[in-house]
Symmetry: C2
Subunit: 267 residues, 2 copies
């Protein structure tokens, strides 16, 4: 592959970080040009025309203008066309096993986002329990298929590329929900997997501080660039760099801090 | 591949029919032994042990005892290991395109099942509208990627194997909900696709009469072998062959017919 693919993305989006991890592992950061979409502003009409009206990101544009959507579709596509050892296992049975783990990512992601966006303090433990049930299920899966670990197979592969960005996103649960995996054998295998994923050198595209600051509005129930009541600037804004802002208050249930206290200046 | 794979399945299950379609297209019905699970009875403990407690079907057991779950995982696995031309497109970009269509199957299936299981007559049109919105989306997708058709690519492929069993299952909507695709250009492309899928010679594992009779309980809101109130024998029972039963009443909102009127005898 020589011509350039373009990925339209939100820089800290987990669905886009998967692609960055793949490129880092292949040493091919040059193979894709990332173009930033600011989700706090109306979508560019030219991009909307290309995607035929849908606003979900990331979107990949091939050198001859074909549009691919869906993070996992794009990930598998790039994995097939780039030179070098694939993320996916070549053996069909091993690939089926990693695909069973990948199939758990949808419920996992959903449970974590519903948890962080919940605004009812009385329901906090219910959301935590749902997420923990999925962690236990993944723990059992890893004990069955890879008891010694840390990864599902020998190295960092497809399932790891799919889950790692979510593990990093869920820093927002540590911070805003004081959530952590309980001690004990029900979680030891998935804890080791998560740790190995998060510390792998190909996965350092985002930091905890960045996630905590940018996702503050999610913790207030406002997703995708929406604004919490009483605020005028989104925590996702690019106009006030997150590096310059103070850490947001941890107690999400107390309601939003002001734009000013958050270091969010009008664009 | 010479040794035998085993698929544990419900005979009329759409997620299992996909595998049968694949085998029919490859001329390899002999490659898999199908073992019937009666969902109206408690699950066999030996099978439960193999699946580690989960009851979802189909499940594939490899010749050396490995267990694979998830219909699409099993379908892709068999597609890779069987001799002959694959269902999936070999070209990575074409495969990404068919995968985008396959990704629409979850919402499509969900919309159809929620529709047939709805018990509130006043909400009937709301469920119909949700399903129609997905049909229009698929219509647009096919017009973009395969304006001339009838299939997404040259022949019956992966996306067709995934959707066809659902098209056939949705006979229950024609019958119990008097549902059909409206006339007009918004649906013409998907109508042609659906027609080509349903009449393909590799897809005749089930008949309309069988689906209508077995899925009667779904139309009464009772899925997965559960019993509607006032009934003692499931419409999924194997003890009273569907061929011997009369057609069920079409008006699902009037409540259930009796076991006797349905030709359902106690086992």
């Amino acid at each position: 592959m020589t011509a350039k693919h373009v990925v339209h993305h939100i820089p800290v989006c987990p669905f886009s970080q998967r692609l960055e991890i793949l490129l880092a592992l292949r040493g091919r950061d040059d193979a894709v040009e990332f173009r930033v979409v600011d989700i706090t502003r109306p979508r560019d009409p030219e991009l909307l025309a290309k995607t035929r009206g849908t606003t979900a990101l990331p979107v990949l544009e091939t050198p001859d203008g074909q549009i691919l959507k869906e993070s996992l579709v794009i990930l598998r596509y790039l994995d097939e066309i780039l030179d070098g050892p694939t993320l996916r296992r070549r053996d069909p049975l091993e690939h089926a096993v990693e695909s069973m783990l990948v199939a758990r990512e949808g419920p996992f992601t959903s449970a974590g986002y519903l948890f962080v966006m919940n605004q009812d303090r009385a329901r906090r433990d219910e959301f935590a329990d749902r997420l923990l049930a999925i962690y236990r299920d993944i723990d059992g899966f890893l004990r069955e298929h890879s008891p010694d670990g840390p990864f599902l197979f020998k190295g960092f592969g497809l399932a790891e590329a799919v889950f790692t960005p979510m593990f990093k996103r869920f820093w927002f649960l540590d911070y805003y929900e004081d959530f952590s995996l309980p001690d004990g054998p029900d979680y030891d295998r998935v804890r080791a997997w998560k740790e190995a994923c998060m510390t792998h050198p190909a996965t350092h595209q985002v930091t905890e501080e960045e996630i905590i600051k940018l996702y503050y509005d999610y913790a207030l129930g406002a997703g995708n660039g929406a604004l919490p009541e009483g605020r005028r600037v989104s925590s996702f804004t690019f106009s006030s760099p997150w590096q310059d802002r103070p850490w947001p208050p941890r107690d999400k249930y107390a309601g939003t801090a002001t734009d000013q206290a958050l270091g969010l200046l009008p664009a």
